[in-house]
């Protein structure tokens, strides 16, 4: 027997809710874009190779201004000014600046300056360049003495790099959010006695479960496709091999489906789906590298992170986007995603059988 009428039934509810909640639905599509923008800009900052130099210049004489201008002229340095010693020191301590220069009340070229240094990787090389900028009594460092930066592969600005990472990252993140939030569909059916009532209709509960899962799959897939298309067009992000991206996205939506079914049997009340759902999604995302690349975290944590489906999806998307991988190269990731998705669905179905006392003979 086909489950077409079950699909049609949920289609009625889905369409009715879509009609009444257009704004909320739009938010579900637009919000990830906002996150991509914000996270992209944030991550882009980490890709910016210049060193930030904090400067406290309370006098502002021609000499200090000239020295600051010299530092600023170095393409590898950026100057951020501070108004007081405490703020500058705080900025050094918080890592906001590589070093903090304090010009004394009377300063002439060749005089010493006080420099606050943090313990970051940036301090020493930045100091080298700053010193070069301040040294008026000797020849400045020539360009030939300093290493030039040669970029291979695509030439991208740091913002593009940030967005390039944030786009797949937030696509994965929001697919997981969507899956967990849509567990509310099953929670509602379960807790308000719909499922028991459906047992008394010609429709089978497994069809209903299938439809609930498929609904989540559809929503997550539509959201992901929307994000991929919009980020391609608006941010010029090259997602890579089309077939590969499609297969990963299909599998990612499968994970959303699995989450919606599994957590639909666990959450108590739709409110839990709406509150704990996003929270859990963010934790899965952080583990799986949606807020920062897993390659920067210590190896044990990167391994642990792969308990989260986000890690596998990110591995696949980034391989396609950054390393010109083909769909064959990401088949293993896709396979793991599907194993996770189907395991979640199975666990959910078993849990549901347990809670509903569905000892009815198979129809």
């Amino acid at each position: 027997m086909t489950a077409r009428h079950v699909w049609a039934a949920f289609g009625v509810v889905g369409a009715a809710r879509l009609r009444r909640n257009r704004f909320v639905v739009a938010v579900h599509f637009l919000l990830p874009l906002v996150f991509i923008g914000v996270v992209g800009v944030a991550l882009g900052g980490y890709g910016d190779p210049t060193f930030v130099i904090g400067v406290l210049d309370s006098t502002g004489t021609a000499d200090t201004e000239r020295a600051i201008a010299t530092i600023e002229a170095d393409p590898d340095l950026r100057v951020r000014r501070y108004d007081d010693d405490t703020s500058l020191r705080g900025a050094v301590l918080r890592g906001r600046v590589a070093v903090g220069i304090v010009f004394p009340d009377v300063w002439r070229p060749g005089d010493d300056v006080k420099v606050y240094a943090g313990e970051g990787e940036s301090a020493v090389p930045a100091l080298t360049l700053v010193d070069a900028g301040l040294a008026a009594d000797r020849a400045p460092v020539t360009a030939a003495e300093l290493p030039t930066v040669v970029a291979v592969g695509s030439q991208l600005s740091s913002l593009q790099v940030g967005l390039g990472y944030a786009a797949p990252a937030m696509t994965v993140q929001f697919a997981i959010v969507t899956g967990l939030v849509l567990s509310s569909t099953l929670v509602e059916l379960r807790e308000r006695g719909f499922l028991a009532r459906i047992l008394a209709t010609p429709s089978a509960v497994r069809d209903v479960l299938g439809q609930v899962g498929a609904g989540s799959w559809q929503a997550a897939f539509a959201q992901a496709v929307f994000l991929i298309v919009v980020t391609s067009l608006a941010f010029s992000i090259e997602w890579g091999d089309l077939l590969g991206v499609t297969l990963v996205t299909v599998a990612l939506a499968g994970v959303a489906m699995g989450l919606s079914v599994a957590f639909g049997t666990l959450f108590r009340g739709t409110r839990q789906a709406y509150t704990l759902g996003p929270l859990l999604a963010v934790i899965l995302g952080m583990l799986g590298g949606t807020f920062w690349p897993l390659r920067i975290v210590p190896a044990p944590l990167a391994v642990l992170g792969h308990v989260s489906p986000a890690a596998w999806a990110m591995d696949a998307y980034t391989a396609l986007e950054f390393y010109d991988a083909s769909w064959v190269d990401v088949l293993a990731d896709i396979g793991v995603l599907w194993v996770m998705a189907l395991t979640l669905v199975t666990l959910g179905a078993l849990q549901l059988r347990g809670t509903l006392h569905l000892r009815r003979l198979a129809a």
Partner: protein, 313 residues
Amino acid sequence: MGAVLEARGLVKAFGARRAVDEVDIAVEAGEVVGLLGPNGAGKTTTISMIAGVLRPDSGTVHVDGLDIRSGPAARARLGLVTQWLTLYHDISGRENLEFWGRMHDVPRKRLRAAVDRALADVGLHDRADDRVDTYSGGMQRRLNIAVALMHDPALLVLDEPCVGVDPQSRNAIFELVEARRDGGVAVLYTTHYMEEAERLCDRVGIIDAGRVIEEGAPAELIARLAGGTSLRIRVTDPAEHEKAVKVLAGIKGLRGVTTGDGAVCVRSKGSDPHIAAVVAELLDAGITPSSIDLDTPSLEDVFLELTGKALRD
């Protein structure tokens, strides 16, 4: 013609407790059968097994000759009205019915007409396109009943449909059930309100602690088990109580004379309360009755007689 519903030997235990114990129920077309019992007697468990929601430990359920567990065809002949509301509150009444119509596999071509008719049947036509959370409690109950009507079931099973319903909605529900019955539908109806059972049911089964302990037409059960009318007679001079008891004990057709609460109580053996004889004999004995209250027996009394408990404990 065979029964539309035939349930035999239904047993369901939860742990050591037998919630339903060897229950047989049969309902014919055009008949309303009530399952009357207090909360926790096993009514909902019985109905859940009949509707195929719960698998019995033993026993069989046939609807229109088909085993309810044999597949969709049997369940397509059944309309279940649950005690709880199976409605989406954030969409309209019509959309809810379209959802349930689809779940009952009503073909798309017939769906619109079926929804309209069900809405008209429960008197919600003018509010059909409003969101359900704007409905009153009674309206939501009526919509919950409409859920079970669109596929024209041969058997309608209603589980306490009038709990928490205002009198107006309650009447509408009664009329709806009667209309369906008159249309040849077999109706199984559970309630713990005896008035509902007396008004609607052609037959009632009295259920207590999981067993059907009596069965029959309401009037017949009352006549057989609850005895006749009880009379409560007050006399002007309480000192004459003893004398009155003797007089009343001598009247043929009365039984069980007692005193208490400043009155003399007696029951008629049959349905005739023998008021003329009571008044005449008392006056003859020089006793003047100041008031006589009549209390017609009900299924409540039947239940009390059978179990020693009130229905609404």
